[in-house]
């Protein structure tokens, strides 16, 4: 890498020295090293968590994995339309993070959100029915794969403009502070969203006004077909938080417990002191960007390398080694999860299409028909 060109130094609040200008350390290398050490820690983390929680976490990850596989199948059969962005490979992030918050806390995320929706408590039935564009879907068939919502579990969407949910989540956190509640907001987004102005504008406001928002960057290393190193000048995303004096952590996104712990630390900061946090969670999607992406920009070897650290497999191995589950228990779970997904599929198949008159409902909360309007007033 090129030499440091800007020699100016500035001191941070903590008295540390930090360089400005070109940085002569290769951030991805440093990150990879950290990844290795973090990974070894999953086994230690198991000791701090009760058995039921561990099994629940595993079951949820497995449920999302099998759900997405079924969604892919249904998509190939033409039962799901439009875009369908699968979460396979990234399950540890949504499930680990959402396991660290309360039911009344808020979650907003991007268009790759089937896993987050299920983790926050929307039933697989309602998520699958939404994918099918049916009336029984969590958005009544009007949102589809990219716009899942459920106000009963404070799941605030499914947003499909890259980075669009980041100012929204900041506003939800603003409302919690305005009302003096201790609810926190989790805001998930991919690493490509970090290049959007919305990310920077939001982090600035969140720290300026001390808003209880936890920004979780799911760094799966590709923005559609463009790798991080082709898109981001400085690739250490956690470090970017420093530009806003926001607390940040780098987290292994293949370790559900690491994500859960890091989120829990951030939640505590947010709940007690209204402080935001940025988590950079390094993960990898095993499938293409969407169902229509053949993924020719990645080598098979690269994908296989990451699949060795499949978060579902890593976690089941850990649980087995620790004696928390045995093969019989795993098989039993596999069976019940598959049944649940089959049930969701049947529910979606059986759910009616939205009634034609639904086309014109929900445009306005206070619809106004100007006075005296005639029959063709639609």
């Amino acid at each position: 890498m090129s030499k440091q060109t800007a020699a100016s130094e500035m001191s941070t609040g903590s008295g540390e020295k930090t360089r400005t200008g070109v940085i002569d350390q290769d951030p991805p290398k440093a990150v990879a090293q950290q990844l290795k050490t973090v990974k070894q820690e999953q086994k230690h983390r198991v000791d701090d968590i009760d058995q039921k929680t561990l099994i629940d976490l595993y079951r949820q990850m497995l449920l999302v994995r099998r759900f997405e596989e079924k969604a892919a199948e249904a998509y190939s059969m033409g039962k799901i339309g439009g875009f369908c962005h699968l979460y396979i490979g990234q399950e540890a992030v949504a499930i680990g993070a959402i396991s660290a918050i309360r039911t009344d806390d808020y979650v907003l995320t991007s268009y790759r959100e089937h896993g987050h929706a299920i983790a926050k408590g929307i039933s697989p039935n309602a998520v699958m029915a939404e994918l099918f564009g049916k009336a029984g879907g969590c958005s009544s068939g009007k949102g589809g794969s990219m716009h899942m919502f459920d106000r009963n579990v404070n799941f605030l969407g499914g947003h499909a403009i890259v980075g669009g949910q980041i100012p929204l989540a900041t506003g939800v956190a603003f409302a919690s502070k305005y009302r003096g509640t201790d609810q926190v907001t989790l805001c998930f987004f991919g690493e490509a969203a970090v290049n959007q102005g919305a990310f920077h504008e939001s982090l600035n406001m969140a720290q300026l006004w001390k808003l209880p928002c936890i920004y979780i960057c799911e760094n799966n290393q590709y923005g559609m077909g463009t790798s991080l190193d082709r898109a981001m000048s400085f690739q250490n995303i956690a470090e970017k938080a420093r530009a806003y004096e926001i607390a940040s952590e780098f987290v292994d996104g293949m370790d559900v417990l690491a994500v859960r712990e890091a989120t829990a630390r951030a939640v505590e900061r947010a709940r007690k002191d209204f402080l935001p946090t940025l988590l950079e969670v390094r993960t990898y999607r095993f499938m293409g960007h969407s169902m229509s992406d053949p993924g020719s920009y990645r080598t098979r070897a690269e994908i296989e390398k990451h699949q060795e650290r499949d978060p579902v497999k890593v976690f089941s191995a850990t649980l087995k080694e620790k004696g928390i589950v045995d093969d019989a228990a795993l098989a039993e779970m596999e069976k019940s999860v598959r049944e649940e997904v089959e049930h969701a599929l049947r529910f979606a198949e059986d759910s009616p299409q939205p009634a034609p008159e639904e086309l014109y409902t929900d445009v306005y909360a206070n619809p106004i028909v100007p006075r005296n309007r005639g029959i063709d007033s639609k």
């Binding site: 100012p167 929204l168 409302a175 305005y178 406001m205 929900d362 445009v363 909360a365 106004i368 006075r371």
Partner: protein, 326 residues
Amino acid sequence: MAVITMREALNQALREEMLRDQDVFLMGEEVAEYQGAYKVTKGLLEELGSKRVVDTPITELGFAGLGVGAAMVGLRPIIEFMTFNFSILATDQIINSAAKMFYMSGGQFKIPIVFRGPGGSAFQVSSQHSQALESWFAYFPGLKVVMPSTPADAKGLLKTSIRDDDPVIFIEQERMYGHKGEVPEDPEFTIPLGLADVKREGTDATIVARSLMVPVALKAAEELQKQGISCEVIDPRTIRPLDIDTIVESVKKTSRVVVAEESHPFCGVAAEISMEIMDRAFDYLDAPVKRVSGADVPMPYAKNLEELAIPGVDQLVAAVHEVSYM
């Protein structure tokens, strides 16, 4: 009734609604300590405090989106754009989030938010600070678009907009903040959205005008009255929803219509109104609908060119002559 400026009327509406409902907060650039770039928010910080009147960094996309997020969980934000020119930076959040959230969530998340600020032509600030954007916003189902032309309308419509459960684009004409008029003092004075107002009754021709074009149309009507032509001036006040029936009723009476606007003509609101008139009152027309719009150019700086770019009384008079075959 007291005679006050449009600026003061808007200030009263903000103050009254914020006192009425603790969930209403006001956010924008220079709204608090500076008292508003156009002094519309004068005194609000002192009376309501910094929790409810919030100065922002210059970060329009960010605070527009923040407002929409706060509205998702039940607050009622008023987001001020120092001018609507800067709302262009925030259009992703206005259009993709605010306008569509209720629909794409299947009716679960309403967005009770007001985006307000000055818009339209200003005084010699050239192309980027002087433009009318209502046709952009009015295009989108999910948004309501309001443009008052008198202090009373400004107050009554802003109060209604704040109480409304949908996103409202409230465009105040930058040149009109100092315009004076009688304004009711009753704190429950409101004006429904989607209700046009007949600003002057007449029998020979209809002029449909909004915002800055209303006083211009009224002057033109006075001029034409001297020539024996009685003009009706209709101000839709709300662009979406549009009270087309009031316009059509007038056209059925006068059979001649001019639609005036300061915005660019192409794909503009006048084009939509003209289409609606053709659709609903074609057989009543004695002449084709005439449109008078701002020049189809970016706004120039030079005073003489700027004057040429904005429709004036003479152009409206000429247009009424034209539809009257005079």
